[in-house]
Structure formats: structure tokens, C-alpha cells
Amino acid sequence: MDVSLVEHLLLNIEETVSIVLFGIGFTILLLHRNLIKKIMGMNIMDTATYLFLASKGYITGRAVPIVVDGIQDVSAYINPVPSGLVLTGIVVSVSTTALMLALTIRLYERYHSLDLDEILILAKEEEQI
């Protein structure tokens, strides 16, 4: 059972790698107090999702879904749906990254720190005053 599980993970190597990447990104998100590093962790998680989707749409030995020489057989091309979903993901991640970076700039100008804990302490002190 255990051996077959590991074998299966090796057969699904793209998914396994994407899960590990996702975990690394999540760990960065939790462990680092620097806001810029948190955004980097978020981007690593995004990348892991793209890898997962792209590997789900792949079929061994088939071509990209661009019709060549009028061949329109299902057995000739990979699945086009996950590719479109990856495109959506990339666009959304670009806009969220820009938004997070803009917020970080404004926070730094206000509190002169990128450390989330320090920012929270300063914000609490401000509230008490």
C-alpha cells in the first residue's frame, strides 16, 4: 500500500511538485513577517496552481490545441479547457499582486516598517490615542 502510494506520487510527479510548491508558498506566508516576502509566498502559491492545472490538461504524446493541416480529431490534441483557466489565473494574480504591493507602499509610508507585527502594534497604539 505504502509503496504503491509513493509510486503513484512519482507517476503524478507534476502534481506532487505543484503541491510541494504550494506548501512552500503557504509556509512563507505564515513564517515571514515581512510583507514583501509574504507577497512572494503568495506568488509561489499562484505558480503552483498554474502547474497543477497545466498538468491536469496534459495528455501524453498529443500536440497543443492549435489545428494543423485540418486535423480535428480529439485524439490529436490535449485538453484546451485547463489552458484557458490558467490564463484567467495569471491575470487575476497580476492584479492582486499589484494591489498588495500598492497597499504595502502606503503602509510603509504610514508606519515606516514592513514588519507586519510592528505595523499592528503601531496601529493599536494609534487607536488607543
Binding site: L5, H8, L9, L11, N12, I13, E14, E15, T16, I19, V20, F22, G23, F26, T27, L30, L31, S55, K56, G57, Y58, I59, T60, G61, R62, V64, P65, I66, V67, Q72, D73, V74, S75, A76, Y77, N79, P80, V81, P82, S83, G84, L87, T88, I90, V91, V92, V94, S95, T96, A98, L99, L101, A102, L103, I105, R106, H112, S113, E118, L122
Partner: protein, 328 residues
């Protein structure tokens, strides 16, 4: 240029040095640090004053002890937090890996996600959308409202960044004007970098033509509005870096940005609403599909790709200028 840079660095260095020496705490906005309580020599002459000093000292020491205890508590908490977060992440990875181990094997044609939807896109896509690139046909014809949502997400993202970072040049407020003067970073770099300008002269036209090629061939080859728009935006950014805001302002202003984005999004919305309305009611839309493989083919996909490309290029450029200077 070098003199200015020196000044800039010495001021930073000075701040850092004073912080290391314990004179100022940068987090307290330049206030004096806590431990620098000045010794009061004038109150040592009488007993009452001595008592008062002792009381003050004991109070300080009591506070100190409490602070030490609190610091120790925070340290323990931080260690606990780190261990727990690593444990949590490992747990999530284990659960997800377990799930992956029971997923169907990658690259197998009989996987459940390769169902009749994908088959329909591949078999009928060319006839129904006229696009050789099936992914483009899918995202700009079958699922065009999804792509419209994406463009809107990008537009809303750039609006939020604009709200957060924009500095109004005509503002009467003194502090905002000071911020604009501070964010003008042209002082720290050479005015006319001849190497960069010559490279940009060669590279910018090539990059722009390549971007236009990607946008216009979105339905024929890999590419489309999003990737081509990103290439166009990077060309604009390179031009701005080489020649500065003065020359860029003659060509690309905030007004133009607003007009292009608004027109592109409105055209996209109207065109796609029309084609969905006619398609859903089985009416003749009157949009010719053309011969697949020609550049003027596949109905609405080419104009929609151009719209998306314009929106993306403008948004990329707007992001850059806003992050750098707070306005175009």
C-alpha cells in the same frame, strides 16, 4: 550625479548610525530612545529628592522587569507560532499529497477531465468560431464573458492601485506636493543615459512590432490579447525609462489611457453582448467567420483580442508609472 548620490547615502547612513548608537529610534518618529533618561544632577542635594529619585528608579525597574517578562513571553509565543505553522503546513502538504496519490495518472487520455466538453471544443471549434487556435476560440467565443470578467478584474485592479498610489499634481496640499517632490527619482539617475537610449532605439520598435504580431495572430498561433498586451506594455516601460516622462507625456497621457481603456472595454462588452444575444436566439449575427487560417477571419475574435491587448498594455504601463511616481 555622484555628489547627489553621496548626499543621499550619507543621510541614510547617518540615520542608521544614530539608530545603532541608540540615540534615536526610527520607529518612534525620531523621538529619543527609552533608555536615554538624562541624569538629573540638580536634585541630589536633599533627602526628599533622593527618595523621589529612588521611587522613580524602582518604578522604572519594576516596569523593566515586567517588560522583560513580556519579552520572554513574546519570544516563547513566537517560537510556538513558528513550530505550529510548520506543523500546519506539513499537515496541509501531507493531506494534499494523499489526495494527489489517489488522482488519476497525468497524461492519460481516459482521465475524467478529458470529457465531452473538451472534445466538442476540439471537434467543432474551428467551424463554430473560425479560430485555428482552439484555446483562443474557447476563451474569446464560447467563454467570452469569462474573459470580459478578466479584463474587468485587471481594470479594477489598476483603478485600486490608482486610488492608493496617485498623487495629484495640482493639489494645494503642502504634504502631497512634498511627497511628489520626494518621489521624483530622476535626480538619482543620469539624465540622458546614452547607452540605454541607443539600446532602446533599437529594441523598442522590435518589441512593439512583436507585441502587435502576438495580438493580431492570437487566433492563428500561440498568444493573444493578454500576452501581446504585456509585451506592448513592457515596450512602453522601456521607452519611458530611456527617454523620461517629458517625451512620453507627448505621446501617452492619462487622458489617452482613460479613453483607450474605456473604449476597449465598452466595445468588448457591446460586441460580445450582441453576439451572445443573436446566438442564444438563433438569429443571424451577420459577422463573417472568414476562411480559417487567414488573418482577417474568425469573426469577433480579432477585434476582441485587440481590445484585450490595449487594456493590458495600458494597465501594465499604468502600474509602472503609479508605482514609480504616483501618476503619469
Amino acid at each position: 550625479m555622484s555628489r547627489k548620490k553621496d548626499n543621499y547615502e550619507t543621510s541614510r547612513w547617518k540615520k542608521f548610525k544614530s539608530w545603532v548608537d541608540g540615540e534615536t529610534d526610527p520607529l518612534d518618529h525620531g523621538m529619543e530612545a527609552h533608555e536615554a533618561i538624562p541624569p538629573r544632577e540638580d536634585i541630589y542635594d536633599s533627602a526628599a529628592h533622593e527618595k523621589a529619585v529612588k521611587e522613580e528608579l524602582s518604578k522604572i525597574y519594576g516596569e523593566d522587569r515586567r517588560a522583560v517578562l513580556r519579552a520572554r513571553g513574546i519570544r516563547y509565543f513566537q517560537r510556538f507560532y513558528k513550530v505550529m505553522s510548520v506543523v500546519l503546513c506539513l499537515g496541509i502538504i501531507m493531506v494534499l499529497l494523499w489526495t494527489v496519490a489517489s488522482l488519476p495518472i497525468t497524461g492519460n487520455a481516459s482521465n475524467p477531465d478529458n470529457n465531452e466538453v473538451a472534445a466538442r471544443y476540439i471537434e467543432k471549434g474551428l467551424q463554430e468560431t473560425g479560430a485555428v487556435n482552439i484555446v483562443t476560440g474557447m476563451i474569446l467565443d464560447y467563454r467570452a464573458f469569462d474573459t470580459f470578467g478578466e479584463s474587468c478584474v485587471l481594470f479594477i485592479g489598476s483603478c485600486c492601485v490608482l486610488v492608493l498610489l496617485r498623487l495629484d499634481g495640482d493639489s494645494k496640499n503642502e504634504s502631497i506636493r512634498k511627497m511628489i517632490a520626494e518621489s521624483d527619482d530622476r535626480h538619482f539617475e543620469p539624465k540622458n543615459d546614452i547607452i540605454l537610449q541607443k539600446c532602446a532605439c533599437v529594441l523598442v520598435p522590435i518589441i512593439m512590432i512583436f507585441g502587435v504580431y502576438i495580438v493580431l495572430n492570437g487566433h492563428l498561433s500561440p498568444g493573444g490579447g493578454f500576452s501581446g498586451g504585456a509585451v506592448l506594455g513592457s515596450g512602453l516601460i522601456l521607452y519611458l525609462n530611456a527617454f523620461g516622462y517629458g517625451k512620453m507625456g507627448k505621446m501617452f497621457t492619462e487622458k489617452l489611457y482613460k479613453r483607450i481603456t474605456l473604449c476597449a472595454l465598452t466595445f468588448y462588452c457591446l460586441a460580445k453582448s450582441y453576439s451572445f444575444f443573436t446566438g442564444a436566439n438563433h438569429l443571424e449575427s451577420g459577422i463573417p467567420l472568414g476562411t480559417p487560417g487567414a488573418i482577417l477571419s474568425s469573426g469577433l475574435i480579432l477585434p476582441l483580442n485587440i481590445c484585450v491587448g490595449l487594456v493590458v498594455a495600458c494597465t501594465m504601463y499604468a502600474f509602472y508609472t503609479l508605482f514609480r511616481k504616483g501618476g503619469m
